[in-house]
């Protein structure tokens, strides 16, 4: 194990981490505003992956090009979900919402199983085995492009929340629900929009990650857990925290694979999760949650 291996692992981890971060953004946005923990996170991402797969198979779209389409479809799905179903359980204790979303995850996963079968399926793009040399680093093209697109989408999102009127309105809801209502904001519609945005994030992330990973119906829980690890370490509700957490986890996974053993890398992530849950549940950048 030499410097070159470690450096490459770091680079690869950082790039993968950006994609993880994008998916965690979706989770963070939803929690930060609507205060719902989306336990169907991974399954929704897998749905995005499958849609991208179908677009690739039927229309030959490179997954990175499918991002806008998949994001739009998932946005509609998320919007409808919040508006029709999740809104109804808003008054119930939060474990009920958790269970509802877990049930949704189960439905999505089993639906994928029924439609697509249990086998792993992937895409083969033209540049799948190409790589780019940057000094002593050798980076796969798919990973580089994936990270680039993830960064673009994340930037669009951050700009949206910071500068657009709707984005500011959503942030107002997150800060002060009652105040937002009093000022006349249509909170229900904004919540639905937020869930839609979160779902779109997941769709985009799923699209992108199809470039790096094959999809199968049982992939959901692993990504849900990964999403939670990232978001809790980075801080629930913090957008920058989600990106930071994503990169941290990406790097730690890559390093663990090189230093310890690839199959134990998830164990390291879980160990980190346990530590953070115990010592600093609000994460690195998040606000303290009750």
């Amino acid at each position: 194990m030499n410097l070159e291996t470690v450096a490459n692992a770091l680079a690869s981890g950082l790039l993968t981490g950006l994609v993880y971060g994008l998916s965690a953004l979706g989770l963070s946005v939803i929690f930060g505003v609507i205060r719902i923990v989306n336990f169907a996170h991974g399954e929704m991402m897998v749905v995005g992956m499958f849609i991208a797969l179908v677009l690739f198979r039927r229309l030959g779209f490179d997954p990175l090009l499918s991002v806008p389409v998949v994001a739009a479809v998932m946005f509609a799905f998320g919007y409808a979900l919040q508006h029709v179903i999740i809104r109804r359980v808003a008054h119930l204790p939060d474990y009920m919402q958790f269970l509802l979303l877990a049930a949704l995850g189960l439905i999505l996963a089993s639906g994928s199983l029924v439609i697509f079968g249990p086998d792993a399926q992937g895409v083969q793009v033209a540049y799948a085995t190409d790589s780019v040399a940057l000094g002593m680093l050798v980076v796969d093209k798919p990973r580089l492009y994936a990270a680039a697109v993830a960064l673009v989408v994340a930037t669009v999102l951050l700009v949206f929340f910071k500068y657009s009127a709707t984005g500011r309105a959503i942030r107002a809801c997150a800060d002060n629900y009652l105040g937002a209502k009093i000022v006349g904001l249509n909170v229900d519609r904004l919540y639905a929009l937020t869930f839609g945005v979160g779902a779109a994030c997941l769709g985009a992330a799923g699209c992108i990650i199809l470039l790096l990973v094959d999809v199968h119906p049982y992939l959901g829980p692993a990504y849900t857990l990964l999403g939670f690890v990232i978001v809790i370490i980075g801080g629930l509700g913090s957008l920058y925290g989600a990106l930071l957490g994503g990169m941290l986890i990406g790097v730690s996974e890559a390093l663990a694979a090189v230093v310890i053993q690839p199959s134990l890398k998830t164990a390291v992530s879980f160990g980190l999760l346990i530590l953070v849950l115990l010592l600093r549940p609000q994460g690195l950048l998040g606000r303290a949650v009750q």
Partner: protein, 348 residues
């Protein structure tokens, strides 16, 4: 005397219903096919496990999505002791219960000391279960990914050997039935005791409970440990019934989620709810699977449609339906409709 205390709050209708249900269950192996018996064993297993889970959630207020951890610890401990050290399960079960209880005590005290509740606690349980799964995956002495296999001989499925938990399928049936009924009695006993009152007080309002002298940490820990111990016992049954253990199947999150289905559908926080839930979901799931297979045989549904996918889809929809329509579960609703309990207890 004891019966009065345990079932005194049931109306005549309630007692009749319970009696009929019990009679059917006792007679089942003599009247039903072996397929029905197998399904019944699964029902009772999930009912028993559901009751165990329910103790932690319904009574200590802690949502556990990692109960497969305790089941797995129980299963692997007794199996390992039997396979490698010839310790019969009737003794091995003590080690199983001890280990599961200790793990729960550890997680519980960590959670309470650091004030983790709600969804964060659920995530903590998931993390511990997954962590253990990965560890066991790499543990060669437990068989690792290749699995741990219990010796099954030609005569293993005959006779009645409770010490080694081997015998007729009917023996397994009555064993799990006894466990399930035992858990029901235990829950009712506990609920009628000081522990039960303190649990309900903690669940309703922890601040007020503390002010009334309830040691919150201690009683929550009791619920957590009893819940895990029962799950560990279920694990022992699992190991000696299926005779093979794989980390992915035993500790996987799908198993943890499966544990929660029956209590949620049947009624969280009630003693009988998980039993009802198991006996509603499992037969319906099996019937649905049989229907799909038949439709496939007729050519109406494509052959490659996964039957287990359809079953899981049904379970997901069932839970979603319950959460949206009857969050308290089916059992409280049935109790009200059929007036199975005398007021004020109303349910349980």
């Amino acid at each position: 005397m004891m019966l009065e205390r345990l079932f005194g709050d049931l109306t005549t209708a309630g007692r009749a219903t319970l009696g009929a249900f019990l009679a059917i269950l006792l007679a089942l192996p003599f009247v039903a096919s072996s397929y029905v018996n197998t399904v019944a064993i699964i029902c009772l297993y999930l009912a028993f496990l559901g009751q165990a889970w329910n103790l932690m959630f319904g009574f200590a207020g802690l949502l556990s999505v990692g109960h497969a951890l305790f089941v797995g610890l129980g299963a692997y401990t007794s199996a390992y002791l039997f396979v490698r050290h010839q310790v019969p399960p009737v003794i091995g079960i003590l080690a199983s219960v001890a280990l599961a209880g200790t793990a729960a005590a550890l997680i519980g005290s960590l959670a309470f000391r650091f004030a983790i509740g709600g969804v964060y606690f659920a995530l903590l349980t998931i993390a511990f279960a997954e962590f253990t799964r990965i560890l066991v995956d790499h543990a060669k002495f437990l068989g690792g990914t290749e699995g741990l296999f219990l010796p099954v001989g030609a005569t293993s499925r005959q006779g009645i050997d409770l010490i080694h938990i081997r015998g007729w399928p009917a023996m397994y049936y009555y064993l799990i039935l006894a466990l399930c009924l035992g858990a029901l009695l235990l829950c009712r006993l506990l609920l009628a005791s000081r522990m039960g009152f303190y649990w309900r007080a903690i669940r309703d309002n922890p601040d007020a409970a503390a002010a009334a002298g309830v040691p919150i940490f201690r009683y929550r820990m009791y619920a957590v440990m009893i819940s895990a111990a029962l799950a560990g016992i279920a694990g022992v049954f699992y190991a000696f019934y299926y005779n093979n253990l794989f980390p992915e199947q035993v500790f996987g999150i799908e198993r943890s989620v499966e544990v929660t289905l029956a209590p949620i559908v049947g009624g969280v926080g009630t003693a009988f709810g998980p039993i009802l839930g198991a006996f509603v979901l499992t037969p319906l799931g099996e019937s649905l699977s049989a229907l799909v297979r038949w439709l496939q045989a007729q050519g109406i549904i494509a052959k490659q449609v996964r039957v287990d996918g359809v079953k899981q889809l049904f379970f997901g929809l069932a839970v979603m339906g319950i959460v949206l329509a009857q969050p308290r579960g089916l059992w409280p609703w049935i109790c009200r409709r059929l007036r199975l309990f005398r007021p004020p207890s109303g349910q349980i």
